[in-house]
Symmetry: C2
Amino acid sequence: MTIPLPGGQVRGSKTGKPIMALLDLLGRTWALGIIWHLHSGPATFRELQQRCEKISPTLLNTRLKELKTLQLIESQQAGYQLSPQGVDLFDIISPLGNWSSQWAQALMDESKSCH
Amino acid sequence: MTIPLPGGQVRGSKTGKPIMALLDLLGRTWALGIIWHLHSGPATFRELQQRCEKISPTLLNTRLKELKTLQLIESQQAGYQLSPQGVDLFDIISPLGNWSSQWAQALMDESKSCH
DNA sequence: AACCATGCTACAAATAATGTAGCATGGTGT
DNA sequence: ACACCATGCTACATTATTTGTAGCATGGTT
């Protein structure tokens, strides 16, 4: 799976539009999860593995390389952490946390009323 | 692939936390793309296929079912469209459009300066 | 030197996505 | 009624991705 560089061809678009590269990237298994879990602070490889609960080391490493190439994360002596751009991205998606709770509630309410 | 219901077990979490179900869902191939493309208005199955450029009908149908079950989209006579909750979700992620352009620019600048 | 922990690779098995063909249904025109 | 289309969607073989497990290599401790 080639890294979805903005400007190049990505899954779902030959136009090279940055948003398409981004959606391709974020749509890969665990990419969003890694970003989400890194927000709680830098983590070593094994620590990150635990935060993700079930990710295989093979895939974790693959995603880390992609995210590093695309400058969303960086590795320091403290381990892996969000880059400034990664933080920006996280700030955009962070409302998903609260939103998902309301959404879950709505789904439950609906399954109760519509027997 | 079972539908990631909040409250149930999903990829990456046994806790049932809604955010984990959501990240699982959005991390599936094409899920974000479908939501993104539906924002420009309702679309029939074939129209949506074209907007996505390269999605296979098999997968499109699979994702549509998931998104419908989780109430992010609904199908009317006009075709598929975002549900009110889907619109909410889109509103959260819509800044990704502009963000991705800056990001693409930063990546290009960096590849120029750091030969 | 034996012992750990860590980052990460190898690789086979399991699962998911793609691509293409085409069926079933519901119009429209004749 | 009948041929002709478009649409929504399924079938299914091929290909790509993900998982799970084992374990290697490096660096620090005792």
